[in-house]
Symmetry: C2
Subunit: 526 residues, 2 copies
């Protein structure tokens, strides 16, 4: 029997706040620090590991976190989710994104169909379509092969797929998996579409229109923009466009598209990279096999998240430590810092995933909560960030918990030796050095050069950014966010907070405003 | 006589904390809200205006902020800076980035030369060089014109120039100012350089190596990577490279470069976009006239920052409101939200500018301060962000002050009408709607759909992103950060917090580690 309780009503949460705080600089120094790095590590999928040695925890804190996981019934709630209960209570929907990559529990039936079978069917349809495009069986009207795919979508239909594409682009080029270049149009700013169109050959481009409802204003506007460009080039737009949408949307059966692939209401936009939303563009760019490997990595990570033993469940442990940092230690933000240029937009995706899921002030029953919830998430790849905002992370007045990601190998396999080491070694040396610098600091008589340390971080270490490890990374963070939502007793799967702005924007465009909104509209020449 | 005092010792700061807090939702409603939007606006350069109607201030708070500005001697401290006093006390240096765009006060002499004349001379040298490249007078060894310029630099040598290039790329294409495509290599991850090189024609590329000291490890490593690529293509690297550095650096007089252009120790990396660091790449990409217009916009904004009347000094007012939000209202982060795809990387530049300048815990005399300083800065362009992290901004448990930027016109001048409005109108309608949604909220019986409001924002409104407005925007934020540093009594011009990581990384590469660092190094295969 699952009970949904607020975090601050849990006995184990009160106990957690009484556990002695860890002096991170102290425990990470000397042989004790070395032992922590060896022991405080949890295996992940695709040969990765989550290392939390430099987090502000010790065995006592971990014991308390285990109790919290148990009392909050994290394992049971995850099971309820993947077995098809209505976890998205606000919108009265199932939450099934994990089902796009594997069957974790019972068969889930909704809308009269086996949903796992439905998602697999869509993947197969996409695979067939992509294979035909690559083989030149589906072409433009002149019978020429498509060379570019352009995703038109915003939010979850943009950030995740874009981050995944960028993460695998160079890997695919190196491994002979690169089929087509992908571009992305998202912003309603007309310069976004115009800018992208100025860099591509529309006659050889296929456009993927992504909108679950088929009513997203930005996306429909950009579709129209693109259709104008196709028409101006003397092309038949319907030969250049496919749709990814829900079966009930106006786009589903329109003649305006070469094909339509389906997702459904059980997959939120920010969780949709492994659905047709990511599947179409990634299968076209890299081939269906690459997308399948990506899904397999995610599925393996989803399975690990079922583990009742917190010490063998990286997403659950990451979630628990994050809540400890947010609600007991009082840190208001978290930085995500991948030491890999391939993951340059991964933090932007996590920013949506996390902040849109858990940036809420009411619990899943609509009652205000008395504790803080989702933190601000931001980040840039290392070593770039070191030369930018790390100053504040090291010596600022607020402590910002850090989430590092590092890989032993690069993707392109070209490197250079300078001062006795490769660039890849320098990259890895920097992330190792940062963890210890943040944790241990270094005393200096000159206060300006003094480092207090005590700044907590974790690191996920992998072999290389490739389809499987990328899928696992994505699933890890999705599951972390899910577990944190359970702990905070939130509905992590709706986003009512984005509605008011939409309503007011419509009013502005209809010139039905008064007061401040009217004057702002005038100032902006609307 | 200037006295440098900590914020919490100022009488006016104590008074400020006693001023009645403003109920933002209340004051922004109805006719009162309309009046605020009309009146709470300060003109900026290039036809822009800073509107703070939706900030949590009223005439009483503004009066207190004026007193604070006076007691903190903000105008006098700015004058001391541009007249050449040693404001960067930690490194015992002058702070002269404003001098790259105009003479604000006395002639400043350092290293035996008039520094304004020195910066102008470098601009002229760059202009001559760029004009010769564009005219085909400087070519590759085969006598062919260069078509691409690639900046190799990191931190301030990357983020600012990259953000500026992206901001003007489409404007230049539209206005017949586009001379060469620019690319950027920054990360020590070898996949960054390899990825960029895979997209360009090295035989027709000119590389700008940017390092003030001539010793930045990432940059020298990437230079070597690029030289290998040039050599492998059978090219003479010295015919393809120029240097931007200080006159005393090892790069300054090397035969490895076609030319060298100089900056100096009085310009910090994050303040260097208007020096040769931005000048070389932007003059090559868009022509020297465009760069000159950009400088003129910045110079005009710098002049406004001299105004003793806070109500006519947008950077000073912005700075004061930010400190009020941070130190009295207790908000820990700030989001920068440009409603312009051209400004997609402007927030990343501001993240460095702000967090590296004011993310400090000791004052300019090296004494720990008892108050919080620089906030976390993050942001993405709208409307993209609306479909991402705005959920937390609207309904999260923490209040995040917002800094909107909007323009009446787009750059590319192609648009489409959907549902009776253009994309540009939709873009502007959205930013207007967001300001009011954040400020006023909207009550709903369903708590999940309830918006409390009371979330403060400002907006800078301009005509269009063009060289002059971009220069003005850049200078506005540089000057805001400077004034905040004065208020917090920090040295905003050094960055000792980045040193420890560098030292430890060198130790890892030399295999001179023990404890936790040794084990992490092993885990990462270094």
């Amino acid at each position: 029997m699952i009970t949904w309780n607020n975090l601050d009503t849990l006995e184990s949460f009160k106990e957690l706040s009484d556990v002695k705080k860890v002096n991170l600089a102290e425990v990470m120094t000397g042989e004790n620090g070395a032992e922590r790095v060896k022991n405080y590590s949890v295996p992940m999928a695709a040969g990765m590991a989550y290392n939390y040695a430099a987090k502000q925890v010790d065995d006592d804190v971990l014991e308390a976190l285990k109790k919290l996981a148990k009392e909050a019934q994290l394992t049971e709630k995850y099971a309820a989710l993947y077995n098809g209960e209505v976890i998205n209570t606000g919108e009265k929907r199932l939450v099934l994104h994990q089902l796009t990559r594997g069957q974790l529990g019972d068969t889930v039936t909704a809308d009269g169909v086996d949903k796992r079978a439905f998602y697999v069917e869509q993947q197969q349809k996409i695979a067939d379509f992509a294979n035909k495009v690559h083989a030149g069986q589906i072409t433009n009207a002149a019978g020429e092969k498509f060379t570019t795919v352009v995703q038109i979508g915003i939010g979850g239909s943009d950030l995740g797929p874009r981050a995944m594409y960028l993460a695998l682009e160079n890997w695919a080029k190196k491994n002979d998996k690169f089929k087509m270049e992908a571009k992305f149009i998202s912003n309603v700013d007309p310069d976004d579409a115009a800018g992208v169109l100025s860099t591509i050959d529309v006659a050889h481009s296929i456009f993927v229109l992504v909108s679950k409802s088929g009513t997203t204003l930005e996306t429909l506007t950009n579709e129209s923009f693109v259709k104008d460009a196709l028409k101006n080039a003397g092309l038949d737009a319907s030969r250049h466009m496919i749709a990814v949408t829900s079966e009930t949307s106006p786009l589903a059966k329109s003649d305006d598209y070469l094909a339509a692939f389906f997702m459904d209401d059980y997959i939120g936009g920010r969780y949709s990279s492994t659905s047709a939303v990511g599947g179409a563009v990634l299968s076209l760019a890299f081939g269906p096999e690459v997308f399948a490997d990506f899904l397999a990595g995610a599925a393996e990570e989803d399975s690990l998240a079922k583990n009742e033993d917190v010490m063998q469940n990286p997403a659950m442990l990451d979630a628990l430590i994050g809540v400890y940092e947010r609600n007991i230690l009082g840190y208001p933000s978290t930085a995500v810092l991948p030491y890999s240029q391939a993951l340059s937009r991964f933090p932007a995706h996590l920013q949506q995933l996390d902040m849109e899921s858990n940036g809420k002030s009411v619990n899943r029953f609509g009652e205000p909560v008395d504790y803080v919830t989702g933190p601000v998430i931001f980040g840039e790849p290392g070593t770039n960030g070191q030369h930018s905002f790390y100053q504040l992370l090291h010596q600022g007045t607020d402590i910002v918990p850090l989430q590092f990601i590092g890989f032993k190998n690069n993707q392109m396999d070209t490197d250079v030796v300078i001062q006795g080491s490769t660039s890849q070694q320098k990259l890895c040396a920097n992330v190792a050095a940062q963890i210890v610098a943040f944790a241990c600091g270094k005393a200096d008589d000159n206060n300006n050069k003094n480092f207090e340390g005590g700044r907590p971080s974790s690191i996920i270490i992998g072999e290389q950014v490739n389809p499987a490890s990328l899928g696992a990374l994505l699933a890890h963070f999705e599951n972390k966010v899910m577990f944190q939502g359970f702990l905070w007793n939130l509905n992590s799967f709706d986003q009512e907070g984005v509605q008011l702005g939409k309503v007011l924007a419509k009013r502005v465009l209809a010139h039905e405003t008064d007061g401040a909104l009217k004057v702002f509209s005038d100032l902006l020449n609307i």
